[in-house]
C-alpha cells in the first residue's frame, strides 16, 4: 500500500489554492470585521452629540480633529502606500529568483513602515503634550484606539517582514515556493488598505 506521503503540504488541494493562502484570506476577512467595528464605533462617537457636550476642555470631536497634523500624516500615508509598491516588487523579485533584490525591496518596505510608525509615535506624543489622552474624551478614546490598533498591525507586519528576510538567508523562498513572501504581502496590502479608510474617515472628513 503505497500512498504519496504528506497529507498537507504537497498534496494537491481541492481548489488548487495553497491552504495557507485560503487561511490568510479567512483571517483577513475576520480582520475586516475587527477594523469595521472599530471604525463604526468611531463614527458613532463622532455623531454622539452628548459626548461632545460632556467632553473636557476644547477636545470635542471637531476640535480634536483640528489638532491633527494633516501635512505630516499625508506624508506618512504616502510613504505607507509606496511601501505597498515595494512589497509588490519584492514578491516579483523572489518569483524571478532574484533573492537579493527581493531582500532589498523587503527592507524598503520595513523602512517605509518604520517611517510611518515613527510619524505615528510623534503624533501621539505631541497629542499627549497638548493634553489629549485616551481618557480625555471620546475623541481621544476613539482616536488612540483606532489609530493605535492599526499601528500595532503595522508593527507586527514589520516584525513579520524581518522574519521573512531572516528566513531568506536560511535558504527559504529560493525555489518556486514563495508563499512566505506572498503571505506577508497579503497582510501588508490589507493593512495599507485599512489605513486608507482610516485616513479618509479621521483625517479628511
Amino acid at each position: 500500500m503505497t500512498v504519496d506521503a504528506h497529507a498537507h503540504e504537497e498534496h494537491p488541494t481541492s481548489t488548487g489554492l495553497d491552504s495557507r493562502k485560503v487561511a490568510m484570506w479567512a483571517f483577513l476577512g475576520s480582520e475586516t470585521m475587527f477594523f469595521g467595528s472599530l471604525i463604526l464605533v468611531m463614527l458613532i462617537n463622532k455623531h454622539n452629540t452628548l459626548g461632545v457636550m460632556l467632553g473636557h476642555g476644547d477636545h470635542t470631536f471637531e476640535a480634536g480633529q483640528g489638532m491633527l497634523d494633516l501635512v505630516l500624516t499625508s506624508f506618512t500615508t504616502f510613504v505607507l502606500l509606496t511601501s505597498s509598491l515595494a512589497m509588490v516588487l519584492a514578491l516579483a523579485a523572489f518569483r524571478n529568483r532574484s533573492i537579493n533584490w527581493g531582500r532589498f525591496w523587503l527592507m524598503v518596505v520595513v523602512a517605509f513602515g518604520a517611517i510611518f510608525l515613527g510619524g505615528q509615535v510623534y503624533e501621539f506624543t505631541a497629542f499627549v503634550r497638548e493634553g489629549l489622552t485616551p481618557s480625555t474624551n471620546l475623541f481621544g478614546a476613539s482616536f488612540y484606539m483606532l489609530v493605535g490598533f492599526h499601528g500595532a498591525h503595522v508593527a507586527i507586519g514589520i516584525l513579520w517582514l524581518l522574519a521573512v528576510v531572516y528566513y531568506s538567508y536560511r535558504g527559504r523562498y529560493q525555489g518556486a515556493d514563495t508563499w512566505g513572501v506572498e503571505m506577508v504581502g497579503l497582510y501588508w496590502h490589507f493593512v495599507d488598505l485599512v489605513w486608507v479608510a482610516i485616513f479618509t474617515l479621521i483625517y479628511l472628513i
Binding site: T2, A5, H6, A7, T13, S37, L54, L138
Partner: protein
C-alpha cells in the same frame, strides 16, 4: 464478523499522557474536546441546579443574591462558550476530516492550539470563583454594571480576558475548518456532495470569524474603560451604554446560530440514516442554513426592543427577525419530509434527533412572538425569554448534540452506548426538559422577570417555579444516567464494528475507531452517500451488503506507510503563554513577563519546527 472487527481495532488512542498533550491528531483532539466540554457542561448544569433550588419556593434564602448573580452569569457564559460551542467543535474535529475523505485538518498544530487555548481559557474564567468572586453582571455584561464603579473586583476582568482568550480559540479553529473543508476534500467530494454536517460546519465557521471580532472589539473597549479611564460605555464621560448592547448583540445573535447550526447538521445526517432515505431537499437545507446565517447578522436589535430605538428601527428589525422564520421553517419541513415514506428505526440517536425537531419547533414559534416588538416589550426580560432560549439551545442544540453523541460514539470509541439506558436518558431528559422550561412560558406571562434571586409569595409564581425546579433536577438525573452509561459502555460496551447504523457517509467506511491515518487510500467520491451507494447500489435495491467497502480491515497487520504530522509540544506552550499573560494583566506583572516570554519562545519554536 464481530470477532474480526475486534482484531482490527486500531490503537488510535494508545499512548502516554505526553502523547495526548502533544497530539495533533484530529481524532484525539476531538476526544479532548468531548471530555473537556462535557465536564464544563456538568459544571454549568450544576450552577443551573443551584439556581433552580434557590427559586423553588418564594422568599428562599439558600443562595446570597450576589452568589446567585454569579451563578446565572457563569451558567450562561459556561454553557455558551465552554460547553456547547466546544462540544460542537468536538464534532467538527471528529467528523470533518472523516466525512470529506481527509487524513487530518489543514493545520493540525493550529488545531491543537485551539484546544489548549480553550481549555486554559475555560480554567482561567473559572479561577475567578476562588480569586475574589466570579463575574456577576449576566453573561451579556451590560454596561455600566461592568464599569469599575459598580464592579470593583477583578471579576469582570476575568470575564473579559477569558472571553478574549476563548475568542482566539474559536477564530483559529474556524479558520482551520474553513480551509479544511474548502481545500482538503477527497476527489469527487464536491460542495454539492458534502454531508450536511460539513455544510453546517462551514457556515458556522464563517459566522464565527465574522461575529467574534465584534465582541472582541467590544471587550477591548470595555477593558480600556476599566484600565485606561476611557468612557466608551460611560455616560459621565460622554459615552453610551447602549453602544455595548449593539456590539454585544451584533455578535450575540449570530452566536445563537453558531450554537444551533452544528446541531442542525447532525440531525440532517442522523435522520436519513434511521429513515434509510436520503435527506429531502439537500440543496434547500444547505442554502437555508446559509440564509439563516446571513440574515442572522441583521436582526440584532430585536434583543433591544425595550431600549427605545424608535418605531422605524423596531419595524425594520421586526421584519428581518420574522424573515428568519422562513428558512428555519423550510428546514423543519424538509426534515419531516425526510422521515416521510422512510423506514424509521427509533434507535437512541434517532429519538434525540426527533426530539430536536419537536422541541425546536416550539422554540422557533416563541421566537416569532418575540420578534413582534409590541409583544416583546411585555415579555422581554421575563421567564418567557428564558423558556424560549432554552427551547432553542437545550431543546434544539443539546438534543441535537446528544443525537450526535449516541450516533458517533461507536465511530469514535469502537463501542456502542447501551441502547436501553440511552432510551431512559432520552425520556427522562425529554420529560425533565419540558417540566423545567414549559412552565417558564407561563411564569413570563405572569410577569416574572429574569435574573431575580427571589420573589414574593403574593405573586402567584410558586407552583410553576417548583415544577421547573423538579424538571431541572430530572434533567440532572438523566445526565447522571448518561455519564454512567458512557463510562460503562467505554469499558464493556458491545463492539460496534465499522458501520453499526448502516450509515451512508464516508466515516462509516473505516474501522471504529478510525485508524490514525483515517483512509489508507484517499477515496474517490461520486455520491452524497458513497458508503450507502456501495452497500445498496445507489439505493434502488433492498439488497444488503455485508462487507464494509474500505480496505482497512484486510490490512490490520500491514500498516500502510502514511506519513502523518509529528506531535508537537509548541501548541500547548503557546496557549499557556497566552493565558499566563492574561493572568499578568490581573494579578502581578511578573506573570506578564513570564507569559510573554513563554509565548514568544514557543512561537519561534513553532515556526522553527519543520511542519509534518
Amino acid at each position: 464478523m464481530a470477532t474480526t472487527t475486534v482484531s482490527v481495532r486500531p490503537n488510535t488512542y494508545a499512548g502516554t499522557a505526553w502523547s495526548w498533550i502533544t497530539t495533533v491528531d484530529h481524532k484525539r483532539i476531538a476526544v479532548l474536546y468531548f471530555v473537556t466540554s462535557l465536564a464544563f457542561f456538568a459544571l454549568g448544569g450544576a450552577e443551573a441546579l443551584l439556581i433552580r433550588l434557590q427559586l423553588s419556593r418564594p422568599e428562599l434564602d439558600l443562595v446570597h443574591p450576589d452568589r446567585f448573580a454569579e451563578l446565572f452569569t457563569m451558567h450562561g457564559t459556561t454553557m455558551v462558550f465552554l460547553a456547547l460551542m466546544p462540544l460542537s467543535a468536538a464534532f467538527f474535529n471528529l467528523l470533518v476530516p472523516l466525512m470529506i475523505g481527509a487524513r487530518d485538518v489543514a493545520f493540525p498544530r493550529l488545531n491543537a492550539l485551539s484546544y489548549w487555548v480553550y481549555l486554559f481559557g475555560g480554567i482561567f474564567l473559572n479561577i475567578s470563583f476562588i480569586a475574589g468572586g466570579a463575574p456577576a453582571m449576566g453573561w451579556f455584561g451590560y454596561a455600566p454594571l461592568t464599569a469599575t464603579e459598580f464592579a470593583d473586583t477583578h471579576a469582570v476582568d476575568f470575564w473579559a480576558f477569558g472571553l478574549q482568550i476563548l475568542g482566539v480559540s474559536s477564530i483559529l479553529a474556524s479558520i482551520n475548518f474553513i480551509v479544511t473543508i474548502i481545500n482538503m476534500r477527497a476527489p469527487g467530494m464536491t460542495f454539492n456532495r458534502m454531508p450536511m454536517f460539513v455544510w453546517m460546519t462551514l457556515i458556522t465557521g464563517f459566522l464565527i470569524i465574522f461575529a467574534f471580532p465584534v465582541i472582541t472589539i467590544g471587550l477591548v473597549l470595555l477593558l480600556f474603560d476599566r484600565y485606561l479611564g476611557t468612557s466608551f460605555f460611560l455616560y459621565q464621560g460622554g459615552g453610551d451604554p447602549v453602544l455595548w448592547q449593539h456590539l454585544f448583540w451584533v455578535f450575540g445573535h449570530p452566536e445563537v446560530y453558531i450554537l444551533i447550526l452544528p446541531a442542525m447538521g447532525i440531525v440532517s445526517d442522523v435522520l436519513p440514516t434511521f429513515s434509510r432515505k436520503p435527506l429531502f431537499g439537500y440543496a434547500v437545507v444547505a442554502y437555508s442554513g446559509a440564509a439563516i446565517a446571513l440574515v442572522g447578522f441583521g436582526v440584532w436589535t430585536h434583543h433591544m426592543f425595550t431600549v427605545g430605538l424608535g418605531p422605524v428601527a423596531d419595524t425594520a428589525f421586526a421584519i428581518s427577525t420574522m424573515a428568519v422564520a422562513v428558512p428555519t421553517g423550510v428546514k423543519i419541513f424538509n426534515w419531516i419530509a425526510t422521515l416521510w415514506g422512510g423506514s424509521i428505526s427509533l434507535r437512541t440517536p434517532m429519538l434525540f434527533a426527533i426530539g430536536f425537531i419537536a422541541m425546536f419547533i416550539l422554540g422557533g414559534l416563541t421566537g416569532v412572538s418575540l420578534g413582534s416588538p409590541p409583544v416583546d416589550t411585555q415579555v422581554q426580560d421575563t421567564y418567557y425569554v428564558v423558556a424560549h432560549l432554552h427551547y432553542v439551545l437545550f431543546g434544539g442544540t443539546i438534543f441535537g448534540l446528544f443525537a450526535g453523541i449516541y450516533f458517533w460514539f461507536p465511530k469514535m470509541t469502537g463501542r456502542m452506548l447501551n441502547e436501553g439506558w440511552g432510551k431512559v436518558h432520552f425520556w427522562l431528559m425529554m420529560i425533565g426538559f419540558n417540566l423545567a422550561f414549559g412552565p417558564q412560558h407561563q411564569l413570563g406571562i405572569d410577569g416574572m422577570p429574569r435574573r431575580i434571586h427571589t420573589y414574593g409569595a403574593d405573586m402567584g409564581w410558586d407552583a410553576w417555579n417548583l415544577m421547573s425546579t423538579v424538571g431541572a433536577w430530572l434533567i440532572g438525573l438523566s445526565m447522571l444516567i448518561f455519564a454512567i452509561n458512557a463510562i460503562r459502555s467505554l469499558r464493556s460496551g458491545r463492539d460496534s464494528g465499522p458501520d453499526p447504523w448502516d450509515g451512508g457517509t464516508l466515516e462509516w467506511s473505516m474501522s471504529s475507531p478510525p485508524p490514525v491515518y483515517n483512509f489508507a487510500e484517499v477515496p474517490v467520491v461520486d455520491d452524497r452517500y458513497p458508503v450507502w451507494k456501495e452497500k445498496h447500489g445507489g439505493g434502488h435495491t433492498g439488497a444488503a451488503v455485508a462487507e464494509p467497502p474500505a480496505a482497512e480491515t484486510a490490512h490490520d497487520d500491514d500498516e500502510p506507510h502514511i506519513h502523518m504530522p509529528n506531535p508537537s509540544y509548541w501548541p500547548v506552550l503557546v496557549a499557556a503563554g497566552m493565558v499566563i499573560t492574561a493572568c499578568g494583566l490581573i494579578f502581578h506583572q511578573v506573570f506578564l513577563l513570564i507569559g510573554a516570554l513563554i509565548f514568544g519562545i514557543s512561537l519561534i519554536g513553532w515556526i522553527e519546527e519543520p511542519p509534518g
